[in-house]
């Protein structure tokens, strides 16, 4: 249900993609994420990409966390 990790798409071959995370390579099915492109990061769950990671949102979240952290430092 829960374990899904972000892997980077290295190449696409029809319904499947070669992906990579920190030197570990795995072939995954992109049947649920046909919009995924090479270079995208997808969430890998039991051999399938279940969603494409939104890099802009990821940046936003980190920015928000940085703001929160800097506010707490003031105190």
């Amino acid at each position: 249900m829960c374990l899904a990790i972000p892997v980077r798409i290295v190449s696409i071959d029809g319904n499947e993609a070669e992906t990579e995370i920190a030197g570990v390579s795995r072939r995954v099915s992109i049947a649920f994420t046909p919009e995924a492109k090479v270079g995208d990061y997808v969430l890998l769950h039991t051999g399938y990409a279940i969603g494409v990671i939104d890099e802009a949102e990821a940046e936003e979240t980190l920015k928000l966390l940085e703001e929160i952290a800097s506010l707490s430092e003031v105190h």
Partner: protein
């Protein structure tokens, strides 16, 4: 000779003798073994250490080694972990009918290489052959004898409050390298098993310090299990810092994929030492000069608090208890 092992190879007759002469002796040749008497005779005086282990690893060939290398290193390391200089090993092989001779040669070549590096001789051996299906290709049992210098007293029960815990390098390499070969897991990586003989590393450590209290190689059950063993045997508490434990990125990634924690994954070329705090830095410096200790780090210390328990200070600050491995390390999806 035929190209695979037959039952007759184990029956003690001509084929058995041929097997020993052509497939074992050329790789192990030494005066004691070459005599081919029923037992090997040697002299040794002083405190002796003696150990035995069975090896049933599957797959028998894995990135970075094979069952032969594992068998030699495993037994050499068991002796070294008590501060003994390994002297002699015995080697007993149970072979499944049909096992390919060319694979047997490959394994014997590994055994030769490992024994040479560790500077041990294999002076006694035995071979049995069982029917197809009664053994999973090849099982090896090794026993080993070593000699402990006077004054050296290393035991899991010797840890004292204030001691430092030193780890010789990255954890999880062996277990993950093995898992990457298992049917159904299908991921590829350049990671190799860390299988290695550690006797020279240990003797170098003993040269710089006589205050090494405990040594153990964190094999099955991983670092966490070894630390718990020390805590229980010595009736002390151990605190480790998660951020100080060296783990390769590939191992971290594979562990994330499979839902495993690297502190429970097996290692075959690492050691954990518990040492007097006054000597910790110089021991660390010496370890880092050895190829097998190049990533050595001080990961924690021994305390009077929570005797018998291991506590880990996590990267984010809070502490949690680290127990021994329970059951098997299995991949999970949740």
């Amino acid at each position: 000779m035929d190209d695979s092992i037959l039952l007759a190879h184990g029956s003690g007759g001509k084929l058995s003798h041929e097997l020993v002469e052509k497939k074992f002796l050329p790789f192990l040749a030494n005066p004691a073994l070459n005599k081919l008497d029923d037992s090997a005779i040697f002299e040794a005086s002083g405190r002796l250490a003696f150990t035995t282990d069975g090896y049933v690893v599957n797959p028998i060939f894995f990135p970075g080694g094979d069952i032969g290398k594992l068998a030699v290193c495993g037994t050499v390391n068991d002796l070294a972990m008590n501060g003994a200089r390994p002297l002699y090993l015995s080697l007993s092989a149970i072979i499944e009918e049909g096992f390919l001779l060319i694979e047997l040669e490959r394994i014997m070549q590994s055994i030769k290489k490992a024994a040479e590096e560790a500077e041990v001789s294999i002076i006694a051996g035995d071979t049995k052959v069982v029917n197809r299906g009664q053994a999973d290709k090849l099982f090896i049992t090794t026993s080993g004898v070593g000699i402990i210098s006077p004054g050296v007293d290393i035991s899991g029960a010797n840890a004292r409050s204030g001691d430092k815990v030193v780890l010789s390098g990255t954890i999880g390499d062996h277990g993950i390298a093995i898992m990457s070969q298992r049917e159904g897991l299908r991921f590829s990586m350049t990671l190799e098993s860390d299988c290695a003989p550690l006797n020279k590393l240990v003797s170098q450590m003993l040269e710089v310090s006589s205050r090494i209290h405990c040594l153990r190689d964190p094999t099955r059950g991983g670092l966490a299990t070894t630390l718990n063993e020390f805590a229980r045997q010595s009736k002390v508490g151990i605190v480790v810092e998660e951020a100080e434990i060296p783990v390769k990125e590939e191992v971290k990634a594979a562990c994330e994929l499979l839902g495993l924690d690297p502190i429970y994954v097996a290692n075959e070329g690492k050691l954990v030492a518990v040492v007097d705090p006054a000597d910790a830095d110089k021991i660390l410096t010496r370890m880092r000069k050895n190829n097998y200790g190049r990533d050595a780090a001080i990961i924690g210390e021994v305390t009077k608090e929570h005797p018998g328990k291991v506590v880990m200070k996590t990267k984010l600050g809070p502490s949690r208890i680290v127990d021994m491995l329970s059951g098997e390390l299995l991949p999970r999806i949740c």
